[in-house]
Every structure is written in C-alpha cells, then in structure tokens.
C-alpha cells in the first residue's frame, strides 16, 4: 500500500479552481519533486495536504497510510506524521521557539504513545540537530521566526522537521530566497533525513534545489494538473528548455517578456 495516494483532487480558493484533478502516488522511501510555473497550483497542493482551511477540496480523495487524509484536522495530520515546511514560515511574536517546538514534539509523542519530554531531555535531543543546521542556540529563546532572516527561517523549518521526524515531509519552495551556501546546508539537512520509511514531496520552481536533493520522480504541474511525470532527468530538461519547451506558459516568464 502506498504511503500517499492522491486521486483526482480538486480544490478551490473562493470561486477559483486551483487544483483541477491531481493524481499522485508516493511510496515510503521515495522523493518526489513537483515543479511548475508560478500559479500552477504547487503551493496549493502542499497546503491542501497539510490541511489549510483556506482551500476547499471540491472533489477527489487522498489516502495517507490507509486513512482518509481529508477527514483529518491539520493537527491530526501532523500527529500522524505529515510535515509541511512552509514557503513563508510564519512569525509568531510572544511564543518562544523553544516552547513552541517542545509543545509540538510532545503532542506528537503523546499521539504515538511515547512519554513526553521534559525541558532537559528535550534540549539534549535537539542540541545536535541545531548544530547540524548551523543554528545558534540563542534562536531557541527568541519568538518563533520573529526577526529571523529569510535563511534562518528556512533552516528553522528543516530543523523542526528533523526534530519532529515526520513520515511524509512536504517542502514548499524551501529553496526560495536562499543563497547557494544556505541552500546546500538546507539540502544536507533534508538528505540526512532520507530513509526507507520516510517519503518527501519537494515543491520547487527551479531545478537547482534538485541537484542537491536528487528526486526519484519529477512531476510537472501546470494549470492545476500534472502534465508530465518522469525521472530526475525531467528536471534537467526543464532547466535547459524552460517550461515553454513543454508548451507551458510561465506567468513569471511571460510577464518578463512583456
């Protein structure tokens, strides 16, 4: 049984249909890249899988680990092992990073019938993971993402993923806004988490992230549908010929040409 099975998924925001029938199967251990121009629905797909209420699912099914994913609340999805690394991590002044992450880890542990961690055990567990992401310990006492640089926010997302140990990680444009050093650091963090029982969906506009996180499959999303699927070489094709080579109009590029 596949870890994730998406069948004919439709979703709207307001009156506008964004996902127009997505089919995708992801097995444990696989890394799938979802590429596509701006406005193709990549981020919508990521957010719908995580349970964002802004989007209304109007058709189709999503089965995760044998369960009806769409029936679960966002928090239950997280407790069941889904993790979304946000394209724009949210700043939450007044809530410390440490408090937030400990609360998150403990609810997930509770759900998995594991004992909750006290502050000391928690710190022990995360220290090494912070070092791996080159994160300053002082960030723990700062409010969640508040005043973080763009790179710090993205590293914080991957750090959270390392702490929460999801079974399905969805990375939404984790590469955007990163310089190459930061990109390599983030990619190394992601690669360290690849394992036979963990799947990843990597959403990106550009190929450069996929040189660092090499996917097993690449899907091209355009106008709410997957228009082409292939192996990792598909990403390179796109890099060479652009989305236009597949007959897809890229809004960003089109605007650029005007």
């Amino acid at each position: 049984m596949a870890l994730l099975e998406i069948k004919d998924l439709h979703a709207t925001v307001g009156d506008r249909e964004i996902l127009k029938g997505i089919d995708l199967t992801v097995e444990a251990g696989e890394v799938h890249a979802i590429m596509g121009p701006n406005g193709s629905g990549k981020s919508t797909l990521a957010q719908v899988l995580a349970g964002r209420e802004l989007y209304a699912v109007t058709g189709g099914q999503v089965t995760y680990d044998g369960k009806d994913l769409l029936a679960l609340t966002p928090e239950d999805r997280a407790r069941e092992g889904i993790f979304l690394a946000f394209q724009y991590p949210v700043e939450i002044p007044g809530v410390s990073n440490m408090y937030f992450l400990k609360a998150a880890l403990n609810t997930i542990r509770k759900h998995r019938n594991l004992p909750e961690l006290d502050a000391m055990d928690f710190l022990d567990r995360i220290r090494q993971k912070m070092t791996a992401m080159n994160m300053d310990q002082a960030l723990l006492n700062r409010p969640v993402n508040a005043g973080f640089s763009g790179g710090e926010k993205k590293r914080n997302e991957i750090f959270q993923m390392a702490v929460l140990e999801p079974r399905l990680a969805i990375l939404d444009e984790t590469d955007s806004g990163l310089d190459i050093d930061a990109l390599k650091l983030v990619a190394a963090g992601v690669n360290a988490m690849r394992s036979a029982d963990r799947a990843m969906i990597v959403v990106t506009h550009y190929q450069r992230l996929l040189s660092e996180i090499v996917p097993d499959y690449v899907h091209v999303l355009a106008d709410g549908r997957i228009v082409k699927s292939g192996g990792k070489e598909l990403a390179l094709e796109l890099e060479a010929g652009g989305y236009a080579a597949l007959g897809i109009q890229d809004e960003a590029e089109a605007v650029g040409k005007r």
Binding site: T73, P74, E75, G94, T107
Partner: protein, 400 residues
C-alpha cells in the same frame, strides 16, 4: 431623571450622617459634595462618557461601607503628617469636572491611606489591597448594596525610588469608587501597578492622578481583569525632563465593560511618555480606550508615543478606541496608533501544522498577544498570576 435625583438623596443621607471632620477636611468634603450635586452622574451625552453608561450605578441606592484594607509597606515608609495630608489631599485629583471624584472626596474620612516615601531606595513594594469580602458586601441589617470609596495618597520624596501595587478585589455586588493621588518629587522613580480583579458583579470606577516633578520617572501598569462595569481615569502631569510610561492590559469576556481613559499632560519641555494599552475581548464584552496626550506650549522637545492594540476573539465583542492629541508646541515628536484584530489564521495553521491542537494554538496566540505587557512587569508573583488568569480566562476545552 427622578430616579437619579432620588439616589442623590441617598448620597446626601450618607454624606450627612458622617461624623464631622476637622475643619479643613469638613470644608473639602462640603465643597466636593456641593459639586457632586451640581454635576450629577455623567450620562452618555457627556463626551467623556460617551461609550460608558453609568446609569446602573446612578440608579441604585448604595450605602457607604468600608473595604478591608491591607497595607504592607517596607520599613522606612511613613504615614503622612497631618500638615502634609492637608497640603496634598485633593490637590491633584480635582473634583470640579468628575462627579465620582467629587463623591469620593465628599465621603472622605478616617480611612485614607496616606504615605510618605522618604529619600532612599525601597526594593520591596508598598502593597495596598482594598478587599470587599462577603462580610462587607452583605449586611443582613442593611439591604442596600455597599459602596466603598478608597482614597490613597502617596507622596514620594525627591530622589526616592519605590514600587507600589494597588489591588482591588471582592465578592458579590458592590460599587468601588476609588481615587489615588501620587506625587513624585524631583528625580523620584516610581514603579506602579494597579490590579483590578473585582467580582464579576461589581462596579469599579477609579481615578488616579499623578504629578511628576522634574526628571521624575513614573511607570504604571494598569491591569483590568474583573468587574461588570469598570472605568479607569488616569492622569499624569509631567514637569521638565520627566518620563512617564503608562501601560495597561484589559482582559474581558462575558458582558464585562472596561473603559480606560488616560490623559498624559506634558506641561514642561523635554518630557517623554510611552503608552501601550492592550486588550483582549471575548464573548459580548466591550472596551473603550481613550488616550489624550496634551503637549503644552512650553513643552518643547516632548517625545511621546501611544499605542493601543486589541485582540477581539468573538464576533459580539465591541471596542471603541480613540487617540486624542492636543499639541500646542512645535518642536515635538508624537506618534500614536491603534489596531483591532483577530487571531491570525496563518499563525493558527502554522501551529496546528506542527501538531498543536486548535484550542491550544488559540490560547497560545492569545497569551502571546499579551506577552509583551506581561514581560514588562517586574514583580514575578504578579507576572505569574497574570499568566494564570490569561490561560484560565481564555482557555478553550481540548483533548490535547
């Protein structure tokens, strides 16, 4: 109208049955009572009371009672001498324009807390608690509900440093009509807190007037938690180079109503004032913030900042917020801003996406909203108490 007039009769009864006081005090009382009868209780036609209807207080016949007073002061704090009392009492909180202050002054008697803080650094707070326990609120021989009229006067010597905590609390239905006057000598440093946690059925009307000497530094945190109908009037007058921080936090739910009126009066040059009021409203509650900042003609180089932020958790809560800047000097910096918002949907989703339940996420974000005020409170016990109230008052049931 007749009903209100009759209640003035009840207050007259309470006024006249007082023991006569020393001539100076008796004279003060009489002037205040005369003014009270002229003013009558304000109505919502009065601009200062537009959003706060005190008719429930005006139409009820209250008897006069006495709160249980608890005073804990570090050694070295003295009682004011009779001469100082006469010199200062009623000089700052004027009764000419405010019927409640007039009433409080008219009913002044033996119970005034009047302290002098001599030069020196007092690290332990002066704690003043006015409590209306059931034994005070209910008297089997007197069916009328009780009113208490706490009066506090603190004169802080030049260069002295102290912390003051005023607490108002009680049980059942009663009416607190409090007046506090604080006089800060030149260079005095005062950290003041007022914690209002009256009973859910209580009326609480309070005026605090603060006079700051040259280069005095005054900080107040005005915390409103309880009461059915609450009005706080805070006035601070700054001399040259004085600094005032006037912060507030109001947490209301049910049908509570809290009105905060502040007046920061920059009378002299080089004054600095910071004002941050934050409110969290739930249920059918309502709140008012009216922040007036006056910069007099002489008060050049004034630096003043005012902020009012509101978090509205329900569709039925109402907030009226109004900054009022009256600037008569030309070389000043004054800023103000007000916001009214709900819990941020994106922040909620972010927390939920990490496994934190929706109810817990809401309560985390609610607490986070008030956190910057709580962090500014320098008394740990008070900080903890507030965090507890916050999580209890706005806690929603959840499995985990």
């Amino acid at each position: 109208m007749t009903a209100v007039a009759e209640q003035i009769g009840q207050w007259l009864f309470e006024f006249t049955r007082q023991e006569p006081a020393e001539p100076w005090l008796q004279h003060l009382r009489e002037r205040a009572f005369a003014r009270f009868t002229e003013l009558g209780f304000p109505t919502t036609r009065d601009e200062e009371w537009r959003f706060t209807n005190v008719a429930p207080i005006a139409r009820e016949a209250f008897r006069k009672g006495h709160a249980d007073k608890l005073l804990a002061a570090p050694s070295g704090i003295e009682e004011l001498t009779r001469e100082d009392l006469e010199r200062h009492l009623g000089r700052y909180a004027g009764f000419e324009q405010n019927a409640f202050v007039a009433l409080n002054t008219a009913l002044l008697c033996c119970g005034v807390i009047a302290l002098r803080v001599p030069r020196g650094v007092f690290t332990h707070p002066i704690e003043i608690t006015y409590d209306v326990p059931v034994s005070v609120a209910r008297d089997p021989n007197e069916p009328a509900p009780v009113s208490i009229h706490p009066r506090t006067l603190i004169v802080v010597a030049p260069g002295a440093q102290c912390t003051i905590v005023e607490t108002y609390k009680g049980e059942g239905h009663y009416f607190t009509n409090a007046v506090t006057e604080i006089v800060a000598g030149d260079g005095a440093v005062i950290d003041h807190y007022k914690v209002e946690r009256e009973s859910p059925e209580a009326f609480h009307i309070a005026t605090m007037q603060v006079a700051l000497g040259r280069s005095a530094n005054f900080t107040t945190h005005n915390i409103s938690l309880g009461g059915a109908l609450v009005r706080n009037d805070i006035g601070v007058t700054l001399s040259e180079g004085a600094e005032a921080t006037v912060n507030g936090l109001y947490l209301v739910n049910g049908t509570q109503h809290v009105d905060n009126h502040t007046v920061i009066d920059h009378a002299k040059p080089h004054g600095t004032s910071h004002e941050l009021y934050k409110g969290i409203l739930d249920g059918h509650s309502s709140a008012v913030f009216n922040g007036r900042i006056i910069v007099r003609k002489d008060a050049q180089k004034t630096d003043s900042k005012q902020t009012n932020k509101n978090l509205v958790l329900s569709d039925d809560a109402v907030i009226d917020t109004k900054p009022e800047l009256q600037i008569h000097a030309d070389d000043v910096r004054c800023t103000h801003g007000a916001t009214i918002g709900q819990l941020d949907a994106e922040s909620l989703f972010y927390l939920q996406s990490r496994g934190i339940g929706k109810a817990q996420a809401r309560s985390l974000l609610t607490q986070a909203f008030a956190q910057d005020i709580i962090d500014r409170i320098k008394i740990p016990e008070l900080r903890n108490q507030l965090e507890k109230v916050l999580s209890e008052k706005f806690h929603e049931r959840s499995n985990y």
